[in-house]
Symmetry: C2
Subunit: 202 residues, 2 copies
DNA sequence: CGTTTTTCATACCGGTCAGTATATAGATAT
DNA sequence: ATATCTATATACTGACCGGTATGAAAAACG
């Protein structure tokens, strides 16, 4: 094991990579992968292009690291939501968590995944595939949670876990579009309430 | 009134503007406004850049004309859906119409409006505003239709027309994201069935 | 016929894109 | 002190962006 605080050989870097990555995340979140230019990224990060390339590789690998940070910091509510005791509470935590995350006043509005996956410019195809893969993994977890709910008698007969999971994830993506379009948080809260009022009960 | 078939002075144009516009629409639909380059547009339209500029103005006005064509040809189901006798039938026609339109085999997947409004690159802001304005107009029509439904006793008490309209339009936008992500039409049909099964009945 | 008018094909414009070469600055190692 | 190593700042690369200048081609006019 290498000592983390061991002195390094060359000139020490003058910026904090974590803070720089957080700044990059905000730009990618607001603009999407292709909409974020290196000029805007480096300015927000407070570093120059050679520093960026030396520390983060290239634009694509910087984006992946930002996406990791996004999942870790901003999507942490998903994991805890899936641990809710009932299917309806899972849905409520996911909906309200998405709402709080995407309508906060400091961060950009909407969902970074939706923003970067919807645009499609032939190159940067692998970015899209990366996001779709992560979404598929998240969808799978939701299906499994609702299959468990079904076994526990938590869902009425006639309600398929797969269909219900797709229904919920579709509403969540719709919320991302609405939030990104600037719909007020209050109206989206109404929307969440409406959705929960219609939730199938056993 | 000028005779439409009157002979024109100069050299006649060698392409059909309607077909060229339809080709441009397909590119804008697939790539979004900013993702569509003039090179790709002119190649799909089968014309050169000077011809494009002479006939359609510039990229932005070409996009607006394509958007008009999109609304006229692809969104025509919306108008007829609003004329359905009950609120639930309005919802069903909108959902199934969106599904058929966005999952067809020839056209690009997903909704052109969502694709071009979600990306946000600081310039081309007016394109985004244009799309949001058209969406707001469409949303208003839906709210009015549900207000009428409420008056007609078509909606149960406790269901607000505005909230229900936002709920439905959110699902429609979620469907656009799902279809654009390549989710199979069969699964989206399941989703529509699920949504309709939960529809509030009087 | 020649003139006029419009379209078309080609080459070009300045600007921006992601990415990099080069040289200097700032630290450790000997 | 000197050598070594890494980060920085500046300026650059080739490719592409939206948009256009220019001149030839193709039709109607006289």
């Amino acid at each position: 094991m290498k000592n983390a605080s061991a002195p390094v050989r060359g000139r020490p870097r003058e910026f904090d990579p974590d803070k720089a990555l957080a700044a990059a995340l905000e730009i990618f979140w607001r603009r999407g992968y292709e909409g974020a230019s290196l000029a805007e990224l480096t300015e927000a990060m407070g570093i120059t292009k050679p520093s960026l390339y030396a520390c983060f590789g290239n634009k694509e690998s910087l984006f992946r690291k930002a996406l990791d940070l996004y999942e870790r910091d901003k999507l942490c509510y998903v994991k805890s939501a899936l641990e809710a005791p009932t299917a309806k509470e899972v849905a409520e935590r996911l909906l309200r968590g998405a709402l709080a995350m995407q309508c906060g006043s400091t961060d950009p509005k909407g969902c970074m995944g939706v923003i970067s996956s919807v645009a499609n410019t032939s190159h940067a195809e692998c970015i899209r595939e990366e996001i779709l893969a992560r979404r598929a993994s998240s969808d799978r977890a939701l299906v499994e949670r609702f299959e468990r709910a079904k076994e526990e008698g938590d869902l009425p007969p006639g309600v398929e876990p797969r269909a219900l999971a797709l229904y919920l994830s579709t509403i969540l993506q719709g919320i991302a579009v609405q939030a990104g379009s600037g719909v007020a948080e209050g109206r989206l809260t109404q929307l969440v309430d409406t959705t929960l009022a219609m939730w199938p009960s056993a």
